[in-house]
Amino acid sequence: MTTQMFGAPIRRKEDPRLVTGGGRYLDDLGNDALAAAFVRSPHAHARVVDIDASGAVDVEGVVAIYTHEDLPGAVGEPLPLLIPHPTLTHGRTGYALAKDEVNHVGEPVVMVVATDRYVAEDACQRIRVTYEQLPVVVGIEKARDGEALVHDDVPGNVAAHMTQEVGDVEAAMARAPHHLTLDLDIERSACTPMEGKGVYARWDAERDELRMYSSTQTSTGVRAAVAAKLGLPLQKVECIAPDVGGGFGVKIMHPWPEEVLVPWAARLIGQPVKWVEDRREHFISSAHERGQLQRVTVGFDDDGRVLALDVKFWHDNGAYTPYGIIVPIITSTQLLGPYKPGAYRCEFWSLYTNTVLVTPYRGAGRPQGCFAMERTMDSIADTLGLDRAEVRARNFILPEEMPYDHGLLFQDGRPLKYDSGDFPASLAKLKALVGWDDFAAYRAAAEAEGRKVGLGIGCYVEGTGVGPYEGGHIQIETSGRVNVSTGLTSQGQGHETVFAQIVAEELGVRLEDVHVTTGDTRRMPYAVGTFASRAAVMSGNAIALAARNVRAKALRIAADALEVSPDDLEIVDGTVRVKGAPTTSISLGTVSVLSNPLRYAFDEAARAATQFAGTFDPDKPPVADDDEPGLEGKDFYSPTQATFANGMHAAIVETDPVTAEIRILRYCVIHDCGTMINPMIVEGQVHGGVAQGVGGALYERMAYDESGQLLNASFMDFLMPYASEVPTVEADHLETPSPLNPLGIKGAGEAGCIPVSAVIASAIEDAEGFPITRMPISPSELWDLRRRHAGGEVPSLHRALHRALHRAPHRAPHPGLGRPTSPATPATTPRDGSTTTAAVTKETPA
């Protein structure tokens, strides 16, 4: 029997190749290509007065130098605004090369093409650009006050102002017996994939054709954009995403200036041209995300049920808005998480600043939204003296209320309607996993040792698998090899494996016979791209549908050949056989031969399909009117709406009473992405997401100074967690199938990172006894908060005051308590990233 493929924790097919250096990334291609490099703006806001390239022209090896003046037609026009929105009243995009004005440090101004990158950079250094500096807008507060403007014609720096409201918030707020207002702040971070962007283009002058490669999350999108910009017929442009070393969102943005300029120059010069982004370029000229100030006002009843939620936030969209206002729209809708908000109003302003543009980064607006909602839930619980998990449970949407329509419009312009989920069950699992109900004892034991620990929680719902569509194409060769193609791209998610699992299961073939191609517009010209946790849902279902078509065709042909009814047939390990009589069989390879009537035979297998072989009906054409040659099938999947996955995380952190170091002792995840195609891959995605979330919570920030210089544009200064800083993730799953698609699946790609800042803030606050309203947080900042708390500037949590009152008589360590025990002890020894040791946490403050 074929072993079950769908749902099995199969090892990733692509890993042996990728981990042994067999990957072919953009910079592995095009060794004969000319190299491009860019002169980028050193100023955050300036007028370009003059460009003097005379010093660079005679650098040996320089082939071409381009400024905006050289760009013809559409190439010189503003880059496209990909996702317009009615409330995006002041959308602005940049130029491929700056025209007159630069709006952030890193904006490309001059392009140099040379024999190699060394020469190109030497030439760049000799180009003198004269700027007239303009007032700089950095930070949301400065953008909001509107004194200085990023774009002269955008008053108040407001790109978009949007409000969505369900119910009557004013009235519900007035009726609510309790109210709270929270001011929250979440910093900028960025995707920082291991491989930056890169573009390589070859122009074929004989055929008037362009082939380009881009380290992109959407090769179809890039292809269409480049064809439009260069005025080429779509058929004359091919775009291929080779192996891509991570994307996390930054590569769904397109076309980047370089994606237009490199193919344009390759065509003009008549030689292949390549550009590979370096790390500094990635920091200052790709994209960032996060970055919001939020004000939440909530009205709730005595039981902690939310009656009215009124959210205002200010979103920093950087210098331009080519990707529209997707990020703040997601924040404004997804912050609701698993809860019923009562009446809800969300108003946001998307603001320009003289910084790198902001486009989706894994989580895409959700971490900010989750932070707002979860901080609110914790505050309600604290105000009423209720258990934090209980307050959440009281506000949950219940399974019997599914599908649940929030009455809002989601990022895809369709209703925000949850398809399924069992939030109480998830919470129960989470509480059991982390030992929620035993935590008081754990804390008491830790306190007796002079240690400070805290428990945090965060819940989220994630709209995944947004449309409009993806396609799948499957072709079975006469050898039995199964070729699968889908148009969206891969950046290491394991698509080769999960799509192969779907096909192996649907067709009844062996996994090793299935070969998956993604992101190649020659193979699948219609596609959208890999983002929004959509690949498994969209392409997975499309591929499953295509496989079902192929299977039906295979059974029909085999039934003819074996002279049985298709219903009596099954496919096992690539062989079609009669159920109950497995020796009566025909291989799928032979079925493929039969599917394609031939005039010439080249090998043994093909002989069966030539015109003088076999029997046939002389009254019918070799290929029936309603049929096509070949054993292949194609289908598209286009859902009416997104499918909503969810998860709940809890963490135990320890904060050093002396140094304010923050250590995550345990990190627990309950994750529900519907039916899982491959639990091992889902878990890998969750682990990676949590790692990025930890980065966002404790380390990563984009430190712009007032003049718009990014002070930490290198991995020496931009801290990311190493393996030593990422906690062991204890994950468990719930599988609530989605009713929306044939496979019952939901997306999982972004999940892990969404609630981490909320969870860690919740845990630190619990350990410290005062509110945490700003993330990420460093030991230095926590130490400063402690000082301000001690000085009365930062209030105490109600429960901290309460605990202090009730703790006094029991202060002395209980002899029997000892070190806390299971289940609240770390599953594994916490890895200590610092060289200071755990023992020091026993000290009393200096």
């Binding site: 500094r280 930490n712 190493y722 030593s724 800083e725 230095s780 130490w783 990233g833 200071t836 200096a846």
Partner: protein
């Protein structure tokens, strides 16, 4: 992030290296392990016309015994320092500090001499070299050498007593045989430069501190020696209480930086905490 083009010379003796430096003047730059110089060149913060690689000069490598000193060649890599028994026996403070530098790859390229001349205040070898009262041997044009005490060696941010046309050739460390030592480094992620670190080495006699040396990393524009704390420690019992009192003023008069990893008040606080920990550990308490 590609260096501007430069000529490359790889002398095999100190004299040849000095001659190359003399010939090219301020257009020349010395290359040791390249772990600081190459990033600087790649970011085009510096664009020397000639790079003089010291990597092929055998005389600059290795550790030897010289009576009451050990002598470390400037081009000895961190990895070689770490593996060396003379260092761990007679200057264990240095071994302990070197063990915290970056990661194994960098420790196999980076050199003790390169790190000292680079003189990044967050670097980990300045404080122990200072605390151990090392002498630094500097060779100048024509091959004359002079010896500079560690106290005089570090002049400012990225500035040492090694002038143009000169080379650091040797680090001479008085033997601290039998001294306890500890390097307490505070970082947020592993493989990070010190936010603050404290180098302490202590000679104890029957539970009492007989001598102590304390150096501070990243508490100012150069590594600092905490002389008053050293003095206050002498004669103290190696107990938490006594040490706490003796080191309480360690941050007085320091002017540490404020940056993304911590503001200067926090650094002062850390210095006190880390000094106590370092001295306690060095005293074996």
């Amino acid at each position: 992030m590609i260096p501007a083009s430069f000529d490359y010379v790889a002398p095999t003796t100190v004299d040849e290296a000095l001659a190359a430096l003399a010939e090219h003047g301020d257009d020349a730059k010395v290359l040791a392990g390249g772990q600081s110089l190459l990033p600087i060149l790649r970011m085009r913060l510096n664009a020397p016309g000639v790079v003089v690689d010291l990597g092929r000069i055998p005389d600059l490598q290795g550790v030897c015994d010289d009576g009451d000193h050990i002598v470390i060649g400037a081009m000895t890599t961190y990895a070689a320092v770490l593996a060396d028994d003379l260092v761990s026996t007679h200057a264990s403070l240095l071994s302990k500090a070197v063990a915290t530098v970056a990661d194994p790859q960098i420790r196999h390229r980076g050199t003790l001499g390169g790190a000292l001349v680079h003189a990044d205040p967050a670097g980990d070898v300045g404080a122990p070299v200072l605390a151990l009262g090392a002498e630094l041997v500097v060779a100048g044009p024509g091959g004359q050498t002079r010896t500079v005490t560690a106290d005089d060696f570090f002049e400012d941010l990225f500035t040492t007593a090694v002038g143009e046309g000169e080379l650091l050739t040797q680090i001479r460390i008085p033997k601290h045989t039998g001294w306890g030592a500890h390097y307490e480094k505070f970082v947020r992620v592993s493989h990070q430069w010190s936010i603050v670190a404290v180098a302490a080495t202590v000679r104890s006699e029957g539970g009492t501190i007989a001598e102590a040396r304390v150096g501070l990393t990243n508490m100012g524009s150069t590594p600092l020696r905490a002389v008053s704390v050293e003095n206050a420690l002498v004669g103290q019992p190696a107990t938490d209480e006594a040490i706490r009192a003796a080191v309480a003023s360690v941050a007085d008069g320091t002017n540490p930086p404020s940056d993304l990893n911590g503001d200067s008040d926090y650094r002062r606080h850390l210095a006190t905490v880390l000094t106590r920990r370092a001295v306690l550990a060095a005293a074996g308490a």
